[in-house]
Symmetry: C2
Subunit: 353 residues, 2 copies
C-alpha cells in the first residue's frame, strides 16, 4: 500500500467514470450500502484500490463509535480489554460496538460492510487478523485498525499492542529463586504460541543467571485453562522429587495448581509456592491470593484505542508495535522454600478487594 499512498489522489468522479457508473453508486460502495450489484461493487473496489484512493477527511459521525472485535468472548480476559476500550470511549463521548467472530479467526465480509456503514472512528481487533481485502477496504475509507496481540506474534505492517512476555517469565522465576527455590516447575501455554515460548525463555534465562538448569521433566506445555494446570500439577506433585514451586502460564492454570495441591493435602505456600500469569481479578480472590505477573490488559486496550484516535489524524498507516511492561505482584501463594507460616497474616488478597 506504500506506493498507493504516494500516488496522486484520484477523485471519486474519475473512479465513477472509469467504472461507468454514477457518482452516487461509488459513494454507496464507499459507505457499505447493500443496494449495489456485486460485480459493480467489485469493479469499484478494484479501482479504489488500484488508485490507492483514501477518503481524505472522514466526516466525524454524530454518534462516534469505536469497534472491538473478539475471536471469542472469554470471561477471564475479554472483560478487561472491553473495559480498557470503554474507558477511552467514555472519556471521549463515544460508544463501543462489540463483535464476536466465533469460530473464524477473522471477521467476515458481512462484518466489514457493517463497519463501512457505521463509520466507526476505528477498529480494535483482539487476537484476530484481517484478510488483505478487508484491510484495503478499511484503509480506503480511512478507518484505522489496531491489533491487541498478547500472544506476541504481530503481523507486519499492522499497528499492534502487546506486553513483555519474556520479562514476565524472568521476573516470576527470579522471585522464586530469591525465595530459595531450586526445584522449580513451569507449566506454560501452547507450544505454538510465541508468548508461551517467550515466557519459557524468560524462565530458563532466570535459572541460567542463577547458575541453575531447567529439569526437562519439570517443563510442561498447557492450554492456559484451569484443567491443564490441574492435570500437570497432579502429575508434577506426585513425583518423589516433586518441585517446591510451580510457575504457571496463566492465573487459570495457577488456580488448577492450587486445587491439585489441596487434593494432595499440600499447603500453599508452606509446601508449595505458586506463581500465576495475567493478574485477572480471580487471582486476588483465590485462597491464598495468587502471586502473579500482572499483564496490563486494561492499559493495553486503552493504548490500542488511543492509537486509533492518533492514526485518524495521520494519512499514513503506521506499523507501530507497542509492548507494555509486565510486573510481578506478590501476594500469598509464594514463600521461602520450606518456610512454615511464612505468609503474611490476614489473608491479604481476598480482603483487599
Amino acid at each position: 500500500m506504500r506506493e498507493d499512498r504516494s500516488a496522486g489522489r484520484v477523485t471519486l468522479a474519475q473512479v465513477a467514470s472509469q467504472a461507468g457508473v454514477s457518482l452516487s453508486t461509488v459513494s454507496k460502495v464507499l459507505n457499505g450500502r447493500a443496494d449495489v450489484a456485486a460485480p459493480t461493487r467489485v469493479r469499484i473496489e478494484g479501482l479504489l484500490d488500484e488508485h490507492g484512493y483514501r477518503r481524505s477527511s472522514p466526516t466525524p459521525p454524530e454518534a462516534p463509535l469505536l469497534e472491538i472485535v473478539f475471536h471469542e468472548l472469554d470471561s477471564a480476559w475479554s472483560m478487561e480489554l472491553i473495559r480498557g476500550v470503554q474507558n477511552v470511549a467514555k472519556a471521549t463521548g463515544m460508544s463501543v460496538v462489540l463483535t464476536e467472530t466465533g469460530t473464524r479467526h477473522s471477521p467476515g465480509a458481512d462484518w466489514v460492510e457493517g463497519v463501512l456503514r457505521r463509520r466507526p472512528l476505528g477498529v480494535v481487533l483482539v487476537f484476530s487478523t484481517l484478510p488483505d481485502e478487508l484491510k484495503k477496504k478499511l484503509w480506503s475509507r480511512a478507518i484505522p485498525f489496531v491489533i491487541i496481540d498478547p500472544a506476541g506474534d504481530p503481523e507486519p505492517d499492522v499497528p499492534s499492542v502487546g506486553s513483555a512476555n519474556w520479562a514476565g517469565g524472568l521476573a516470576a522465576t527470579r522471585h522464586l529463586i530469591e525465595l530459595g527455590h531450586r526445584r522449580i516447575a513451569v507449566i506454560t501455554g501452547p507450544e505454538d504460541m510465541i508468548c508461551s515460548l517467550a515466557r519459557l525463555d524468560g524462565f530458563r534465562s532466570a535459572l541460567g543467571m542463577a547458575g541453575l538448569e531447567a529439569d526437562p521433566a519439570l517443563v510442561r506445555f498447557g492450554d492456559f485453562h484451569v484443567g491443564s494446570g490441574h492435570a500437570h500439577a497432579l502429575d508434577l506433585l506426585d513425583r518423589p522429587d516433586r518441585p517446591t514451586a510451580i510457575f504457571a502460564g496463566s492465573d487459570l492454570q495457577a488456580l488448577g495448581v492450587l486445587e491439585a495441591a489441596r487434593v494432595l493435602g499440600l499447603q500453599v505456600p508452606e509446601d508449595l509456592s505458586v506463581v500465576g500469569y495475567d493478574d485477572i481479578p480471580p487471582a486476588q480472590w483465590s485462597s491464598p491470593a495468587l502471586t502473579t505477573v500482572h499483564q496490563p490488559l486494561v492499559e493495553m486496550a486503552e493504548e490500542a484505542a488511543r492509537m486509533l484516535l492518533r492514526l485518524r489524524d495521520t494519512t499514513d498507516q503506521t506499523d507501530a508495535r507497542i509492548e507494555l511492561g509486565t510486573k510481578l505482584v506478590v501476594r500469598n501463594s509464594t514463600a521461602a522454600v520450606g518456610a512454615v507460616g511464612a505468609e503474611p497474616s490476614g489473608g491479604g488478597g481476598a480482603g483487599s478487594e
Copy 2:
C-alpha cells in the same frame, strides 16, 4: 402512555405545521440529529408526546444494532450478560453497542440522542432506569427497551427479566439442612436490595420448614464483594459456637469466606460448608470448587434480547416481567456436618473446566 397509544395517529406533517417548522426539521428531531435549535427540539418533542406519536414501521437499519447499557462494568457479572446479548445478536447478524453510564444510574440525554441516531433494534438496560422523558423519546421512535434486573425490583410498566431469588435462598439452605447442618449462618447482600431480602426470606423459610430458627447473630448483611464475605466470616468463625455452614449472598462473598477459613486453619468442607450464589465462572475455579446457586445470567440476557425483538413486532409496549429459575449446583465446598474426607476425590470443579 396508555391513552397516548389509543389516541388517533397524528402525522408528522401535522406536528410540523403545529410547531411551525418544516417536515425535515421534525424528522431531524426524530432521528436525533444535532442541527436543530434546542427550543424547537423541545417544542417538537412536546407535540410528539402530546399526540402520542409513534413511528409506525421503523425502517430496519442495514447494519442492525442491539444496545446494552451498564451502570458499571464489573468483571464478575457483566461478561455473562454481554455474552447473552451477543449470542442473540450473532445468531441474527446484529452487532452490540456497549455503553457504561458510570456514576449515574441512568444514561443521560447525550446517550439517548446517540441511540436515536443509531436506530438500534432495541436497548437492554442492566441495573439502570430511564427517566420518563427518555422513555418517551424511545417509545415515540418505536425503539423498545428491556431492563435486566437481577435485584428483583422492577419498575412498573417496563418489561424486565429477573431470576427467582427466594427459591435460590430456599434451595441453598435446604441443601445444608439435608447435610445435617443446624448452625447455619447467612451473609446476604445489602439490606436495601430486594434480592437480598428475597434470598434471606428463602433461607428463613427453609429453616422454618425444618423446625429450626435463624439465630439473629448468624444473619449478616454484606455488599456482595469478596471483602465483606471475608470480614463477616472471620467474625462468625471466631465465635465459640461457630456455624458449621455459611450461605453467602454471592460467589465473591463465598470466596472471601474460603480465605477466612484458610487463614483460621479450617478445612472446607470438612470443618465448614460454604454455599455461594450466582455461579459465575470463578465459582468453578476456586479450591474447593464452590457449591452455589446458579443464576442464569447468560440466559437472562438472551431472554432480554429476544424480548426486544418480540416487542418490535407489537405496537403496544408490554410490561412483561419474566423470572428465570435458579438452581443449586453442588460442587466440593459442602459436606455432611462433621464429615471427614466426605468430599469427592479428584477435586471436581477445577478439573472440570
